[in-house]
Amino acid sequence: MSDWKGKTRGGSFGYQFFIYLIRFGGLRAAYAFLSLVVVYFIPFAFKATCSSWFYWRKIHKRSWCNSVKMLFVHYYRFGQIIIDKIAALSGYEKRFEYDFVNYEKFLEVLDGDTGVVMIGAHFGNWEIGGQFFGKYAKKINVVMFDAEYQKIKDKLEGVMGEKPYNVIPVNEDELSHVFLIKEALDRKEYVCFQGDRFVNEKHLLSEVFMGREANFPAGPFQIASRFKVPTVFYFSEKESAYKYSFRFFMADPVKRTKETKPEQLLLRQYVKVLESRLAEHPEQWFNFFKFWK
């Protein structure tokens, strides 16, 4: 069962505060202040701390001492990612260096004759990539749970202006988002999902992930396989203090077999890629709730 309720923690005051700190003190000052925030979050975000602890102890099988250290590193990296996102969306994007892996292949897919499904994760900093899509950004549609979208919209758009992409809000009580997704794909646009969170427990796919069984939302994988559009797994990872890498992985086309549905085959590919990225940057996994069964 997922503990994630479709909402993201944090208020607009915090975002506004960090914007001022970045503006007047620079990124280093924001990172320094973050150390204090991390100390606050460890006891006061108890559920998140428990899930982070589980992640280091049970998934990565780290020692007790190392897990304590990684708890700090985990929160600190999460904070850095948010600060970087705020900085990049507030006009400081040139402060960072960016590296692109498989970018030519990715652009070939975007320039193709069909819509494209892009599946990312709450890993790294996917939002920092928005402004690098240039002419493609207008055709990007990010699918987001309505509650999360409204909160992010209220928090961020007030202080940082409009996002460089479109949002398709998902409300489980309505069906309109299905048609918005379908119509975007029919217009040969790009529809982006996060493949690692769900609120609807009716449509789940299960797969062994990092050595343990975990649930994933069926939606992104089912939509990609049913509408038979190219699928790209997309991750943006923080490589060092001011450097990000954008990585694109083209999924192999999937076909239903006697034993396995195509969405399950697509999920398997996604899990494999995500595991390989997590092996390099385990501290950039930002699902602070009970993820594994």
């Binding site: 998902v170 489980e172 309505e174 069906l175 309109s176 988002h177 299905v178 048609f179 918005l180 379908k182 119509e183 029919d186 609807n200 009716k202 449509h203 069926a218 939606g219 089912q222 939509i223 049913r226 509408f227």
Partner: protein, 82 residues
């Protein structure tokens, strides 16, 4: 394809796809409630309509569809260009 053929085709495929008895699919029955469709089932439904009848379905089309009769009428209009 005449309307009777369309209705027969729809009912048999929907019964198989959504594991329902064809006898439940009476014209005045509510489409979504009878088939217990949610958003991801709609994806299957849209793909089924496109593949079977070659008809592109948009959100606005679906808004006017409440009952099986509405659904039959919609497909009849689109398939036969009425």
């Amino acid at each position: 394809m005449n309307k009777e053929e369309i209705i027969s085709k729809i009912n048999s495929v929907l019964a198989e796809e959504f594991e329902k008895d064809e006898s439940e699919m009476v014209p005045e029955a509510d489409l979504l409630e009878t088939l217990e469709l949610d958003s991801l089932d709609i994806v299957d439904m849209v793909v089924f309509i496109e593949q079977t009848f070659g008809v592109v379905v948009k959100g606005a089309d679906f808004k006017g569809i409440k009952t099986f009769q509405d659904f039959y009428d919609f497909l009849d209009r689109r398939v036969n260009n009425l």
